[in-house]
């Protein structure tokens, strides 16, 4: 059995200081065993400005069993699968304790965004890029944040569309936008100077 009275208290506690932390947890539907968490991308990271949604499933036995968490928002990070959103973090596995909460778990995920651990990767491709070509990693992570984690990111296709209409090839437009982190003006300058 999930301890729902505790989950209820956790939601109240977490959403009390959402204005300061930016971190919130809400039930996905009527059930308290399926929740959606929200974390803001940390400042001074390629995820800054993004809002990341986390899918949270509470198994029977919570808080003795860790919450199952994965990213719903696509994210480019060595410890998060770029395909499935699976997260590699010890406190979501054997280092979980009932002394932790959904909020502290989300805070730890936010900290993981700031401080990747490429030596213990979830996504090997991202981890290799992080280690071998850090600048490209930062550019890609920023582009993904722009493309998938911003409310305005639905505009990405339109940006591509506008540049394509100016006469630039679509593939080049996309990769250029990626490099400059989705900034349309910078992309145009770059495309013109080529």
């Amino acid at each position: 059995m999930v301890d729902f009275s505790r989950v209820q208290k956790e939601l109240q506690e977490c959403n009390k200081d959402v204005k300061i932390s930016g971190i919130s947890v809400k039930p996905k539907a009527d059930s308290l065993s399926h929740l959606i968490g929200t974390i803001p991308g940390p400042v001074d990271s390629p995820y800054e400005g993004g809002t990341f949604l986390i899918d949270i499933v509470l198994l029977d036995g919570y808080p003795f069993e860790p919450p199952k968490m994965k990213f719903l928002t696509k994210v480019w990070h060595p410890n998060i699968s770029s395909q499935s959103g699976a997260i590699c973090l010890d406190i979501l596995k054997d280092q979980w304790s009932p002394a932790l909460t959904l909020k502290t778990a989300l805070v730890s995920i936010q900290a993981l965004l700031s401080a990747p651990e490429p030596d213990d990767p979830q996504d090997a491709v991202v981890a290799q890029q992080y280690l071998r070509d850090y600048q490209t990693f930062v550019g890609t992570a920023r582009y993904w944040t722009e493309a998938f984690a911003k409310t305005s990111s639905h505009g990405m296709d339109e940006k591509v569309q506008r540049l394509v209409e100016m006469g630039f090839p679509e593939a080049l437009t996309r990769s250029t936008l990626e490099v400059v982190g989705g900034d349309e003006t910078l992309a145009l300058e770059k495309l013109c100077s080529n």
Binding site: A86, S97, P98, A99
Partner: protein, 288 residues
């Protein structure tokens, strides 16, 4: 899920895709298998049952068990799931209270429990993270006092100690108390922790005290004994022998600082919790 089935149907074929989730599933499968073999808390067994385990084994151990036989009459096993120290402590303590009906001890330990609650609050733990565990322990403590509606018999105590929804909650209560005590007196515990793991006090509490299933060391025992003011004797049974070739059984008494520092040094402290330690595991011992 698809991946999991693949691994089950063809073990070892897909190690590259063997993810953390799969490893966790495997761990819990192994734990479940263990659970069917050994209860959280076993029945009281004569010491001869211990000797039988080593019949074809080390002669040093057999000699030591003979020595144990002079002082102790029985052993009660606990499940080897990393929580054995806390489960042994829980049953031993509650059984002692049930048998002695020592009201003064109950009042005394309650004061310490409230102190532990304040410690956690002052360390910044949110109340809802620990209050259920505290409440459940206090409920067990009340229930072993006879003469009330909620009183329980010895058999019921054994039964409850085998009930996961009670036993795990009490284990977690002890883990909170232990962690709080270590953090509160971090300067005292720091050198011991550094000797064990090279971790900071905070890291140690987060990774080796607060998660379920993390084994207990002398740091945990010292902290729990100090926090609750309950002395513990640990009897060591291992393959070591003296240089002279003779065999003896060592024990160590964990005496809470509140008892050892109050100047009444003339009084000999006789712990009523006695645990048998074999490398990696604690069981309960019963003195003659």
């Amino acid at each position: 899920m698809e991946k999991q089935e693949e691994i089950n149907s063809n073990p070892g074929a897909d190690w590259e895709n063997f993810r953390d989730d799969d490893i966790m599933l495997q761990h819990s499968a192994i734990r479940d298998e263990q659970a069917h073999k050994i209860l959280f808390l076993g029945d009281k067994e004569p010491l001869s049952a211990l000797a039988a385990e080593y019949q074809s084994g080390s002669s040093i151990l057999l000699e030591k068990i003979k020595l144990l036989d002079e002082k102790y009459c029985a052993i009660r096993r606990t499940r080897g799931d990393g929580n054995c120290f806390f489960r042994s402590f829980m049953f031993s303590y509650l059984e002692h209270i049930l048998e002695t009906q020592d009201k003064a001890e109950i009042d005394r330990v309650k004061v310490n429990v409230e102190e532990c609650r304040k410690t956690l609050q002052s360390l910044g733990y949110a109340d809802f993270t620990f209050e259920d565990f505290f409440a459940l322990f206090l409920e067990q403590l009340e229930s072993v006092v006879q003469g009330a509606d909620a009183s329980i018999s010895h058999d019921e105590l054994v039964e409850r100690s085998r009930d996961q929804s009670i036993s795990d909650y009490v284990v977690m209560f002890f883990r909170f108390v232990t962690s709080g005590e270590i953090r509160k007196r971090s300067e005292f515990f720091e050198p011991f922790i550094l000797g064990l793991t090279n971790a900071t006090v905070d890291q140690f509490c987060k990774s080796s005290v607060e998660p379920m299933g993390e084994e207990s060391d002398h740091v945990h025992i010292t902290a729990l004994s100090d926090a609750l003011g309950v002395p513990v004797r640990v009897v060591y049974l291992d393959n070591s022998s003296c240089d002279t070739g003779g065999v003896s059984v060592n024990h160590h008494d964990f005496v809470p600082c509140s008892l050892s520092n109050d100047g009444s040094s003339g009084l000999e402290i006789n712990p009523y919790i006695t645990l048998l330690y074999r490398p990696g595991h604690y069981d309960i011992l019963y003195p003659k």
